[in-house]
Symmetry: C2
Subunit: 288 residues, 2 copies
């Protein structure tokens, strides 16, 4: 009896996972994920050799060698619902035998680094900063469908946040830590650090009001003002919470480093996107 | 003083909305939305004339004429976080003056029809059925960020569902009706109807268990078993709740018609995807 039925784990005709349509031998164990499918090629252009390329829907994957390191770049599309797909399928590729549908005995721990863009929540963090996530706070709800196992220190911080920030009535936040091992690799003097807020949309769920009234207009300010034992919110985006929560539960190392495009407090926007994103790509490729 | 600041409503260099990058004169008021970007061209191939094409990230838009009707086909990518982006930006295109950044006095009510694929929740609904949504129940949380205004009958049904189905502890469902006017156009003897469940992921959030334990293993069965005053759950997918909730609050007509690819109860899968999706596209183009 296989551990995973075809209704739970769909395998494509070429023997790949359902949405990504990648086969196990097409994936490296160091993975850079980006939201925008067009950014996959911008990263893989740095590779000395490309060994695999495919795309299905918004999921593009290029695998290759960069200075002797085997790396895959995978686009996730926007949002934590896509991260649910990507993280479960990357894990299935390395830790489930797709032919027998059984869990493998020897587990692989992937290194998954999100390289993205974000909004900045603090006046003190300049536009165009590179921001490394110490934690992700999900105000999406993907993490709530899975059993979670977080340490006491993270639980305490989560509780302080839940009591300290202003959220709409039915929004319950969840906090997860990034991989310290990966963060040590990616850190340097020029890097800013803090807790990343992950939201389930771009407009109302990030406190932007267009024509529809919002349930809680002070949410964003309450994130910017929060402080607890030296922890504060640095930035806001749409993928980290599910990546860190599902990733760490599955035994993978996950973190995120994002370019701050906009300061949401000061209402300022970058004029240097094109050059700064290239700088961030080069920084990450050299550090991992 | 403009109603909407540049930090809330970003306008692209060509004068379009931020993510879709469409300008007001490039959009028709009858809109078919599809999840998969590659399906946009499959639909627009039926047009007698194509007047506009563009793509940015997972958002492709083709506008044209089909038998004298002006129609746009827009891909949304996967998930309600993308629907938050698409519905707010489609509304901004017709109801906000992007130059002055003021709300227009005369409002446009768009017709937005999701043409998608779904899982089936009832034994009695055959694989390959076309399923028209009477309501959408969101177990994502995008709707909870916006003020909602639902009629008493819908509130009663929402309460019965909240008490009658088994959800993880922190998941709070929200119910919205589809447009009756659009549903009357799309109905016929061959169509199945019911409440659509919209989830915030594909694996755990839809009750699929791979390597991670789920908080609630009986969620899917509890949807299939639910019945209240003749209402039952017909299908499960990832976009309708935010589409109907935000769409109706903004004054647009929204509904969804989906091809049932899999019966989640009977664990059966279609063998006719290619031909049936073409049949559904032809059906929708002729009815709207």
């Amino acid at each position: 009896m296989p551990d995973f039925l075809p209704s739970e784990l769909v395998v494509t005709p070429k023997g790949g996972v359902y949405h990504l349509d990648i086969c196990p031998d097409e994936l490296a164990h160091k993975i850079i994920i980006v939201g925008d499918q067009d950014r996959v090629e911008v990263v893989s252009n740095y590779f000395d050799e490309i060994t695999h390329k495919n795309q299905h829907r918004e999921f593009a994957c290029h695998t290759g060698l960069y200075q002797g390191k085997e790396i895959s770049v995978v686009s996730t599309g926007i949002g934590t619902d896509n991260i649910d797909i990507v993280i479960n399928e990357l894990d299935a590729l390395v830790n489930i035998d797709l032919e027998t549908r059984n869990e493998k005995k020897e587990k692989v721990s992937l290194e998954i680094i999100r390289l993205g863009t974000c909004g900045i929540l603090q006046n003190e963090i300049p536009i165009d900063s590179f921001i490394l996530s110490t934690h992700a706070l999900g105000i999406d709800n993907v993490g709530h469908f899975y059993e979670r196992n977080v340490d006491i220190e993270t639980q305490k911080l989560e509780k302080a946040i839940d009591e300290g920030v202003k959220l709409p009535k039915y929004i319950k936040p969840y906090l997860t830590k990034a991989s310290e091992e990966l963060n040590n690799k990616l850190d340097s003097a020029e890097i800013k650090k803090g807790i990343t807020v992950t939201s389930s949309g771009f407009y109302g769920p990030q406190g932007r009001r267009l024509r529809l009234p919002l349930v809680e207009n002070e949410m964003l300010d309450s994130f910017s003002d929060f402080e607890y034992n030296g922890h504060y919110f640095s930035n806001l985006e749409m993928e980290c919470s599910a990546l860190f929560s599902l990733g760490s539960s599955l035994g993978h190392k996950t973190t995120a480093i994002c370019l701050g495009l906009a300061n949401r407090r000061k209402k300022e926007f970058t004029k240097n996107y094109e050059s700064k994103i290239i700088e961030l790509i080069e920084y990450v490729l050299d550090k991992i």
